[in-house]
Symmetry: D2
Subunit: 145 residues, 4 copies
């Protein structure tokens, strides 16, 4: 593994400050539960309003959670004063996203000055049992102001 | 192009009936605007509660709209009594998803008994001008009850 | 569609000059058959040495052809003195890649100063009948020397 | 992790027998170096005939190696008498594929009766130092004869 050393010592507060501005996280009831250099987790409860026709969390909502975790994982390694945007991602849905709550994990696989490649996972948690529901492979871009 | 002939003459009402059960469409304010064999469009308004840190519609919400359009495009060709699930998708984000409203378009590229491959697009519409914001390549699966 | 105007009037000879240096095209028997701003086609014969266990062209070889077409489609719009590299791509395999020969088509969907997003297709051609075998969604990057 | 128990006790010889029939592996100089339930590695030397314009292994050849590793990882868990085909894959290219030789690793993330989801990696090996060059997320399908 590449060593993942943040260029900005204040990466953690910068990630939290950005998450506060991300309205969709409030709509999803999501909150950051881990912020490390190159790795961010967030959790959200099951919400019946965000489901598809079978009562599972909709694939787009699953994506929103993993994409946010991956975006912040990338952002944790970006310099102060930069912004992060998703370039693209690919998601495989492995198991129905049902359960009490969900944990999205984003990890940087390859940091870069412009592009950062991440892997993400979504776990459902039901009565303490966790199941891998989806995996993501994503590219993030650093925008310098 | 393959000819896209629905096996179920009632495909249109079947698609609408499924969309009604998809809670997330209500949460996103989305409604079906076109249902044809192998092609489905849906529209949703801009909603500041569903945005990322820059005020653009979040990539996961963009994905939710395109994935639903693709899923229903595939479902329009599936037999009566079947269900549709997303296997996987890949999204490229081309332009910031800002605007008054959004139109997601899903089209079947290759129908199949088990797997159906679709292409999707999201357009933003701002003061009548439309911009391609995102494209999707997706695989859907037909589940027989 | 965005208008696709090449910044380099000599884009065509630049694309051809790069293709000559791409050794794998010789190994695949591939040659450029169309070079337009934002669109490049190439063709290659069936080659039993490049097949998977069922005698179809291997998915990696299919990818090599489409990726090259997409890369050159992007490169046709890049400035003189730049290089192109593939950032990522996603391929759906729709039909077995069998036939007499194959045509890969690459098209720019969204050009950009740094990143260019392309769509690609591979058709098999057998006794004059053409079949869509695979589709690609790809991101290319422009490297300035 | 799911436990990955092969349904066919002869999975190893079945994988090797299929690889022998895959002509492209010979063309790439590739050979299987590890076959375990749900995990297959293969190695190939650098070959200047398979490079892109900068002398790196072409992205399609990189894909051929990883896709084969993933396909056989999936196939190791499939029943006797079945075949495996790639449905789709997505590749991120992380570092130029240069070096003395390459090792592709394929792992099953989620096995299934019909669809199996895999992750793959390609490492370059140069003077004993190995570098992660590319990652894949792939869907394989089991075809029953």
């Amino acid at each position: 593994m590449e060593s993942l050393i943040p260029s900005d010592p204040d990466y953690e507060s910068r990630v939290h400050a950005s998450a506060v501005q991300q309205q969709v996280l409030t709509a999803l009831g999501a909150r950051l539960t881990l912020v490390r250099p190159g790795e961010v987790h967030l959790e959200a409860p099951y919400d019946a309003r965000l489901t598809q026709q079978d009562g599972f969390l909709h694939a787009g909502i699953v994506t929103a959670l993993i994409d946010s975790a991956c975006g912040y994982a990338a952002y944790s390694l970006m310099p102060s004063g930069s912004r992060v945007l998703s370039v693209e991602f690919k998601v495989n849905l492995l198991s129905p996203a049902r359960g009490d709550r969900f944990r999205a994990e984003g990890r940087v696989i390859k940091p870069g000055r412009t592009l950062t490649v991440c892997e993400g996972k979504l776990f459902s948690i039901e009565k303490g049992k966790q199941t891998l529901c989806a995996i993501m492979q994503a590219t993030m871009i650093c925008i310098k102001e």
